[in-house]
């Protein structure tokens, strides 16, 4: 078992109380808490070198630019990218997916082309494709889930043809914890000349990620789900893909020359970073990446498998509790969705909150998946490096209390 308990001291928020109880934070799939190392990096930037990047010749601007570009290099090395130039800073996963959908929609996709998705996608990997489908006439096709909550690849042969231009899949579901079958989809994409986009919002924070080994064309993720600040995310793309992708936002920074009626784009990655970027947030993400590398992503994943396994085991003892997701912790992520008897997820979340326990309740921005599971809402406990078995025990105790509140036997 990987014991990371000592890390808890780095997270100031974990020492606060909620409703008279020490906080148990089980909502890291929504956003993670931040260690002092990240808070300090952001603070240090604002206190000592705040300036716009890529603009001035003055000392502060040079320092800020170095720190910003330094963060890019650290993120690149964290995911084993070929070059920092393959790392584009965005507002987050959602904005990166929109850039890809619109960029390809503008000059590559044609009526009759298909985009292949899975029904477990987050709304941010569905709605942008629906929007460009309206403009381009492309068709969206979906892979289902099996009864074991795995992406059903048995339908792939039937669905896959030369019209499929883009395959886009979540690396890890934020609802069921299902791992996306990226390797298989990359192989399938090669056979028809499609590109592969991986939504790494849940994958990258929790799993050692090597874009070279992954084999996808794009990998996108959010800083705030991996100990970093909000407002910063990453669109990694293979160099040649970033070359062919049209920019979707124009403005300062993203040009090399501007004439009255046309302009030329700056080189990648600046081509996609119009306007003043989220500088402090990028620097904070750089610090988060350093923090995770110090723990080691293999240890992060081992800890997650351990705590997810413990949670699944303990939750199995709660009467009338149904978990929606794969049962083998080594084949899934640490987002655990469940339903408790006839108690609605919002009621579960309200009761847990009274015991200081933060979980998410609702459709988790994945309504097509919820329809497939035939549930309107689930409660979700999700774990990260600072969670302990003790947190799981407190969750289980409070779920037993919830049963009592609803007049069910202990």
């Amino acid at each position: 078992m990987t014991d990371l308990t000592h890390l808890r001291d780095d997270f100031p928020i974990l020492s606060r109380e909620v409703n008279g109880h020490p906080l148990v934070y089980l909502d890291s799939a929504a956003t993670t808490q931040k260690p002092v190392q990240v808070l300090d990096a952001v603070d240090h930037y604002y206190r000592t070198m705040n300036a716009n990047v890529h603009r001035g010749a003055h000392a502060l601007s040079v320092e800020a630019t170095d720190a910003y570009e330094g963060a890019r290099a650290r993120v690149a090395s964290f995911i084993n990218a070929g070059s920092p130039n393959e790392v584009v800073f965005t507002r987050g996963t959602t904005s990166a997916l929109n850039i890809i959908a619109y960029g390809y929609g503008l000059n590559v996709l044609k009526p009759g082309d298909k985009v292949l998705l899975t029904i477990m996608e987050h709304h941010s990997n569905i709605v942008p494709w629906q929007l460009i489908a309206r403009h381009t006439g492309v068709e969206l096709v979906y892979l289902d889930l099996t009864e074991d909550y795995e992406v059903d690849l048995s339908q792939l042969d039937r669905i896959l043809d030369d019209a499929v231009k883009i395959i886009t899949v979540s690396g890890m579901s934020n609802v069921t914890g299902t791992l996306g079958p990226v390797t298989q989809l990359v192989a399938a994409a090669k056979s028809v000349g499609a590109i592969v986009v991986v939504d790494g919002a849940q994958l990258v924070p929790h799993y050692p990620t090597d874009v070279e080994a992954l084999g996808a064309d794009f990998l996108v993720f959010s800083g705030h789900k991996m100990l970093g600040p909000t407002g910063i995310g990453v669109m990694w793309g293979k160099a040649e893909r970033l070359e062919e992708l049209e920019p979707t936002e124009g403005g300062g920074e993203m040009i090399s020359d501007v004439q009255l009626y046309e302009s030329r784009w700056a080189a990648v990655p600046q081509k996609f970073e119009a306007g003043t970027p989220p500088i402090a947030q990028a620097i904070g993400l750089g610090a988060a990446v350093d923090y995770l590398e110090k723990i080691g992503m293999t240890a992060v994943r081992e800890h997650e498998v351990d705590i997810t396994g413990y949670a699944l085991e303990r939750l199995a003892d709660v009467p009338e509790l149904t978990v929606y997701g794969p049962s083998d912790p080594s084949r899934r992520g640490g987002a655990v969705s469940f339903e408790l008897a006839d108690i609605h997820a919002h009621d579960v979340a309200t009761i847990l909150d009274q015991y200081g326990i933060a979980v998410r309740a609702g459709h988790h921005c994945a309504k097509p998946l919820m329809r497939h599971l035939e549930v309107a809402a689930t409660a979700r406990a999700s774990f990260y490096v600072y969670n302990t078995h003790d947190d799981v025990d407190r969750l289980v105790d409070a779920l037993m209390e919830a049963r009592k509140v609803f007049g069910l036997d202990g």
Binding site: I343, H344, H346, D347, T350, G362, H363, V405, F406, G407
Partner: protein, 150 residues
């Protein structure tokens, strides 16, 4: 956990588990739908308005105990009432919940005297994020009344 006991009173759980008038109306009626996109709660309402009164009603949908119980209690509170009476109940409900500002409409000496079972929803006031759950059926009712052009 006194607040939790206040929130989930027995009568609320009873309405949640045994909702009144579940289904659809046949024959002439107006239909309205209330959705809470942030949490996914749905509330579907049919009402029949005849001679300035609600003569029949039915509800469908799904959601948390608070929204569903509030809808079920609303059935008891509006069927057989004139539109004016219904607007009065709705106004008192919104005052009780603190949705509208004004004097507490309840008579605390005589629990249930003013709003019947609906008074059990007072406990929701201590949980501000859940007030919109309790209100969902009532915003849906307002829309249905608008459609009925009464």
């Amino acid at each position: 956990m006194a607040d939790l006991k206040e929130l989930y009173r027995q009568v609320i759980l009873d309405h949640y588990r045994n909702p009144r008038r579940r289904g659809k109306l046949s024959g002439p009626h107006v239909h309205a739908e209330g959705l809470n996109p942030s949490c996914g709660d749905e509330f579907f309402l049919d009402i029949r308005v005849e001679d300035g009164a609600i003569t029949d009603a039915a509800i469908e949908g799904q959601g948390c105990s608070i929204s569903q119980a509030s809808g079920s209690m609303m059935m008891d509170a509006i069927v057989g009432k004139t539109i004016d009476e219904v607007r009065g109940v709705s106004g008192q409900f919104k005052l009780m919940m603190g949705i509208d500002e004004g004097e507490d409409p309840l008579d605390h000496e005589r629990p249930g005297a003013v709003l019947g079972d609906l008074e059990a929803l007072q406990g929701v006031r201590k949980f501000p994020v859940r007030i919109k759950c309790a209100d969902l059926p009532w915003t849906t009712l307002a829309e249905a009344l608008e459609r009925a052009e009464v």
